[in-house]
């Protein structure tokens, strides 16, 4: 069954990695609903947040492929009930309209929007929330003279995660494996192999 999954990818800061990750989706003809790159809790390590609508089986395989990229430290996928997430939206309205129409003001208050810029000719409001709420507000404002609208990508925190510090330490500590020339069992053939 398809549903919304949020994929979180911890990576090195490497030019070209965004493309490498993006084409893994397009190759499978999977539409990216939202994609955000940002710093993470650890300096120098980037965090991708990608939202797709897919079946779990597909997501699981995709995440394994993403993790295979040399510069990817770790990738996780989560359903919506496993994360806290937000998106930001900006709305530009005509200031005259906002002043004239009480409906607009009421709406903005209902959705917790706040003004970030007020000018004579236009006003820019901002809201944060889930996509559905933002979409609803956009829809109603649309009929009330919305001039410009933009919504950011989702950013998400994983409920069960205790951050990436420990994992990173694990990775950094992981010493390269000894070059195996012959394995221990071959040297002790008589004990192990009785034939």
């Amino acid at each position: 069954m398809k549903q919304e999954y949020t994929i979180t990818v911890y990576t090195e800061n490497h030019i070209g990695l965004l493309n490498r990750i993006a084409i893994m989706f397009s190759r499978r003809k999977i539409n990216i609903e939202s994609l955000n790159t940002s710093p993470s809790e650890i300096e120098g390590i980037h965090r991708f947040t990608i939202v797709i609508n897919e079946a779990e089986d597909v997501v699981k395989k995709l995440v394994r492929q993403i993790e295979k990229q040399v510069e990817v430290l770790k990738a996780y996928y989560n359903t919506n009930d496993e994360i806290v997430w937000q998106q930001l939206a900006l709305y530009k309205m005509s200031t005259d309209k906002v002043i004239a129409d009480v409906k607009v003001e009421r709406l903005l208050r209902k959705y917790g929007a706040r003004a970030v810029v007020i000018r004579k000719d236009y006003t820019v409001f901002e809201t944060t929330g889930h996509r559905e709420e933002i979409d609803k507000l956009t829809e109603v404002l649309g009929s009330l003279g919305l001039i410009e609208f933009v919504r950011s990508a989702r950013v998400a925190i994983i409920n069960a995660s205790s951050g990436f510090y420990e994992k990173l330490q694990e990775f950094e500590a992981e010493k390269p494996g000894e070059e195996i020339v012959e394995n221990e069992f071959l040297d002790k053939q008589d004990e192990v192999f009785s034939m």
């Binding site: 084409i23 510069e71 990817v72 992981e174 071959l186 192999f193």
Partner: protein, 591 residues
Amino acid sequence: MSNTILIEKDKKNTGKEKPAAKRGKYAKGAEITGAQAVVEALIAENVTDFFGYPGGAIMPIYDALYDYMDTLNHVLVRHEQGSIHAAQGYARTSGEVGVVFATSGPGATNLVTGLADAQIDSTPVVCITGQVFASLLGTDAFQETDVINITAPITKWNYQITDATEIPAVLAKAFYIARSGRPGPVLVDITKNAQVQKFTYPGYKLCNHIRSYRPKPNIREEYIKEAADLINAAERPFVIFGQGVILGKAEKEFQHFIEKGGLPAAWTVLGLSALPTDHELNVGMLGMHGNYGPNVLTNECDVLIAVGMRFDDRVTGRLDKYARQAKVIHLDIDPAEIDKNVQSTVPVWGDCKETLPLLTALIWQKQHTEWLQRFKEMRKQEEEVVINDELNPQGEIMTMGEVIRVLNEICGGDAVIVTDVGQHQMVTCRYAKFNHSKSNVTSGGLGTMGFALPAAIGAKFGAPDREVVAIIGDGGFQMTLQELGTIMQTGIKVKIIILNNNFLGMVRQWQQLFNDRRYSFVNITSPDFVTLAKAYDIEATSISKREHLKAAIETMMNHDGAYLLEVIVGKENNVFPMVPQGCGVAEIRLK
């Protein structure tokens, strides 16, 4: 022929000796150019033979190379596609990283097919491409192409260097990534300004750790235990193995494993030669044109043990009809392969060089005589319906199979066999005899026609003491025949057999079987191959009669130099058995 060609021919027919000690020219602290640092990196990585083609954007590197003529053997190919296939052939027979030089723009785009091929067949290759000056990036400068983005999906890793100081560390990383874990192709694009830039050489440090990269997953003991329990309880266990055994250099470990458990084992096309053909537990080839028993019995085994293979669709046929009854144990170094196509009961992550011995220690010494007998019986049936006629045909016209049979008799299974793509490839994989690992070189995952001729050149440089025989179709040969020029110039002693059926045979077979014999553009004409070879100063013969076959192959093998033998075979012969597309493995057709 010019004098210089003759000199090169004398000098370089078997490749360079492996350097006993590092023979770099510059110590830490020296002022050198980026180009010199590139060549120093090759020396430090123990590269001896490599393949390339010069051009404007890589000229500084070629200029630096001029001073290393006595330590490095650069093979000048005739087309960059040839250089990367040669590097792949080299990597496959030597087990080392193949190296390629190419210029920007068209030089780099000509590598694309080979990169895709190396990516899907997990072949370690490092390609170094020249690029325009960093200041010109994005300006549509002469021969500027966005190589990094073009090759992103077909490289394990790629990187663009714009400053000389990056060169030693990036190349060390490139070699490490190409050869470690599940190997693959890496491309490093170096802008011209970085090549000419002088900097203080920090020396070359081999890379063996990248914090974001885990080449080998940790082995989970509990899965080894579970896998052993399954194998010990099995009545009809069946092992299927792929190139992972060869890439992991785990041939011995693998053999001990199947011998202790008495486990019949079948191979994928890329796993071929990891287990000697004559081994009594070797039950044959899997997949679309594989053997009857291994395909049918895949759907009768109770435990299926997959080692270093990835359940390609050419192996599994229809997945919903594939081994549904079996418990599946999957050993692979790449966690992304586990459960990708076939759901495993027990996943055994890890390098099979390490996991196989752990498993072997826990399994019981056993024999499965009756079960093995089933494979033998089905082999008999296949012999009666298919194999006997293919290897010892009654008709007048020669078959591809009998050519391989005679080749087996003469080479005794000791040669490296390189194949192109098509009917001849399937026939050769089915019937060629192998005593040694790393002896079968073919384009499996990508099915790249034109692979064999350049790959054979590289294979011979990678294994100079072995005979290398390329088996190629009349169609595929014409895709990269320009590499005869490389053979001429290097004097490399490869043997070439063209199995000429006057058709693009494999496509014709499908058109015959599935498109009502509507032979749409599969009728291909060829030049006079013998005259062609002679134009390149390569000995050649063409035969069409059975009574000449043995002597002709003997003459070819005994000839001290490259040799081309054209064998005219039946025009409309088909490769059988066959699992038709969309069918399950058990629905394999014997005719």
